[in-house]
């Protein structure tokens, strides 16, 4: 009887699993196969070409640059979104009169699509745009930059826009985590004479680890998969200065190299998996339960 009950839950999940398999698992496995072929849009016949696509990827200067840019973007956004999100959450977890209003304000950018945000920021970041005008108005003339057209600055600019958009969302997750921590711990720590810093590092951070894990995973995978903001703000330019793995995939498909594009996509999957799964396991072990 118990066994039948257990099976029953599997019947319920089966339709969803089937749809998921058809639309995600099968194409993903097919993509593995295609990344080892010379699949092109102007040839019908497919040839298995072994590791050729991957060799091509690593001998392509632009792709190396794209990998570097993706790494910069991922590291900067993971750090920025989480540090700012956590600071905001801690600040807005205190007894402030404007607490709810401020929470809403900081959360609001993440409601908008990153595409919309990117379109809005593009003119603001022009050489003669709002950002530079404001900097000049407050006497920080020396800080005004060619934000999106200076090849060595552009990927950092896009990362900052991404942080601006998403930090509020990370804040919301941290707030939820903070509010699940019982006040008793803090009271006990206070009686023992612990400072606020000590409370934060010894109570808040360890008990917040589940929320930190979720945020780290979300921002890391999002950072490695970056596409929309780069595509809208610069299209990978100027030249190839802000190409990331996502835009390179688009470029390969545009040039008719479907096999190569799929290979880049497969590489991205492998990179995300290699980084994300061990990190997930490692962080899980660190979690403590109340």
């Amino acid at each position: 009887m118990k066994r039948a009950k257990n099976l029953y839950s599997y019947y319920m999940v089966f339709p969803a699993l089937l749809i998921y398999s058809i639309f995600f698992v099968v194409p993903a496995i097919a993509a593995f196969y295609y990344s080892f072929t010379d699949w092109r849009l102007d040839r019908i016949d497919l040839k298995f070409i072994g590791w050729d696509n991957f060799e091509k990827i690593f001998s392509d200067k632009t792709l190396i640059l794209a990998l570097k840019n993706t790494a910069i973007f991922a590291v900067v956004t993971v750090a920025g979104k989480n540090i700012i999100g956590l600071l905001l959450a801690v600040a807005l977890n205190m007894r402030l009169k404007t607490k709810n209003l401020l929470r809403a304000i900081f959360y609001s950018p993440s409601i908008l699509s990153i595409l919309v945000i990117s379109i809005l920021f593009t003119p603001m970041l022009r050489t003669e745009g709002t950002i530079n005008r404001v900097l000049e108005a407050v006497g920080l003339h020396s800080l005004s930059q060619a934000w999106l057209t200076n090849p060595s600055l552009v990927i950092w600019t896009i990362a900052i826009v991404s942080i601006w958009q998403s930090a509020g969302f990370q804040m919301a997750i941290y707030l939820a985590g903070l509010q699940s921590i019982s006040q008793e711990y803090y009271e006990a720590a206070k009686i023992d004479g612990a400072s606020s810093w000590k409370s934060f590092f010894k109570i808040t951070l360890p008990l917040l680890l589940p929320a930190i894990n979720i945020n780290l995973m979300l921002t890391l995978i999002g950072g490695l998969k970056v596409f929309s903001e780069v595509y809208v703000m610069t299209g990978g330019g100027p030249g190839n200065a802000s190409q990331v793995v996502g835009t390179i995939i688009l470029r390969s498909f545009g040039e008719g190299n479907w096999g190569l594009g799929t290979a880049v996509n497969t590489l991205l999957f492998v990179v995300v998996t290699i980084i994300a799964i061990p990190l997930l396991i490692f962080m899980r072990r660190k979690e403590v339960t109340e």
């Binding site: 194409p27 102007d42 003669e128 090849p151 330019g237 030249g239 996509n265």
Partner: protein
């Protein structure tokens, strides 16, 4: 049990990461509308066309109705979302789900749709003998496409005639004269040239015409040799000069300051506000400005890269093609015969203000700028097909390299060398012999 649970969660984690990275790898977006099939043996032609070309003269309802009335053949339109047009057509051709007729542009069909393998040669169609300018419909020496107009767009320097008249300027016929004109316009408080190179393709208008004009006069077999790997882009020193020229126009301060931030969609506004006097662009820009303000007098002259250069003829435009594997090949050809008939072609040419490409169809009164082009360039044969006409591969990387030149990252020499490498790799990937 515990182990199994662990394994299951690992599998689920992998699946999760798959779904997070899965990037909709080009499924066949079927955008076909159901074919009516052979009801009562009545034939329905499938005509595939991009949504962005909905105003195409060939698919207006009255034309299609008249065709059906005369032949009892109906035409079913397959409208494809603009951004997916190339992919959808490529997929259809690859899996033999071919429409009977496709509207696409000739230059891109060569690079994107494998023209020679997939499309009918139309040299022997009855209308072909009445075509005035076969070049605009041809590739590899054969007519592959159909259009009633011989003007698929001209590329050169679009300029404001009023500003030229006010400052007493005439059309420059050499690069030095062009710089002198820029200087005068700048002194008059107007930006001489608008460069919207955030859109990288716009940076290719100057070289595409300049290169083509130069090789047509000095090295006519260049593109054949280039496409068979006997010559390289960097073999022609003048190409470097032409890239330097375009960059010099910028460094001398004759352009908008933010060339890499400004985009093409700002161009119409810049001309309407008389903020700029010139732009390296196609005459489609003039049409765009005229729609907003018919009183604006714009014209176009050749890219002044060398003395007495010819006007660049864009090989782009919306031509009709018939796939070899069309299910109703004869009826598709009948449709072209119908459009090519004197009466219907005249009707289309009149409605659209086209430069007729049929010897027995008269060109209507054209807008002033078009008439200028016809009188000064088309009739005296002072046009040259731009480099796009000879390309077998995607040019986006060249555009990005040109953008990089303006970002200060590459010299003209490096642009050509990098493009040589990429070009050769793309040709090799495509399987072109000699690479």
């Amino acid at each position: 049990m515990h182990k199994r649970k662990k394994a299951a969660s690992m599998v689920l984690a992998s699946l999760l990461s798959i779904s997070l990275t899965a990037c909709g790898s080009g499924g066949t977006d079927s955008v076909t509308s159901a074919s009516n099939g052979n009801k009562n043996s009545k034939v329905t032609l499938e005509l595939a066309i991009s949504k962005s070309s909905q105003d195409s003269a060939f698919i207006q309802q009255d034309i299609l109705d008249e065709f059906e009335k005369q032949t009892n053949i109906s035409v079913n339109l397959q409208l494809i979302p603009a951004e997916q047009t190339t992919t959808v057509l490529q997929t259809k051709l690859a899996v033999d789900e071919t429409p009977d007729i496709i509207q696409y542009n000739l230059a891109s069909a060569i690079t994107d749709l494998n023209l020679e393998r997939n499309f009918e040669i139309l040299d022997n169609e009855s209308w072909a003998s009445r075509i005035v300018n076969k070049d605009v419909l041809s590739a590899a020496g054969h007519i592959y496409s159909f259009h009633v107009s011989q003007d698929t767009g001209m590329q050169g320097v679009v300029y404001n005639k009023q500003i030229f008249a006010d400052l007493g300027l005439s059309i420059p016929t050499s690069y030095e004269q062009f710089l002198a004109i820029c200087e005068k316009i700048k002194a008059g408080g107007i930006t001489p040239v608008f460069m919207p190179y955030k859109d990288a393709w716009a940076a290719n208008i100057w070289p595409a015409a300049a290169f083509a004009d130069f090789v047509a006069k000095n090295d006519p077999s260049f593109f054949d040799e280039l496409n068979s790997n006997k010559k390289k882009w960097s073999d022609i020193p003048e190409f470097k000069t032409f890239l330097e020229q375009q960059y010099e126009v910028y460094t001398k301060g004759y352009t908008n300051t933010d060339v890499l931030s400004d985009s093409y969609d700002m161009a119409v506004g810049k001309f309407l506000n008389k903020e700029v006097a010139m732009m390296f662009m196609g005459d489609w820009l003039i049409e765009g400005v005229a729609e907003q303000d018919p009183s604006m007098e714009l014209g176009v002259f050749p890219i002044p890269s060398s003395d007495d250069a010819k006007l660049g003829a864009s090989p782009l435009g919306g031509q009709l093609f018939i796939p070899k594997k069309a299910k109703h090949l004869d009826e598709a050809k009948q449709f072209l015969d119908f459009i090519a008939s004197k009466e219907i072609a005249q009707q289309i040419v009149d409605a659209k203000g086209y430069v007729s490409n049929f010897s027995d169809v008269t060109t209507p009164e054209l807008p002033a700028y078009k008439q200028d082009i016809v009188d000064n360039y088309i009739l005296p044969k002072k046009t040259v097909l731009t480099t796009d006409a000879y390309m077998l591969v995607d040019r986006s990387e060249l555009y990005r390299l040109l953008q990089d030149q303006f970002a200060g990252g590459l010299t003209p020499e490096e642009v050509l060398k990098s493009w040589d490498e990429k070009f050769s790799q793309l040709m090799q990937d495509k399987g072109v012999s000699g690479f």
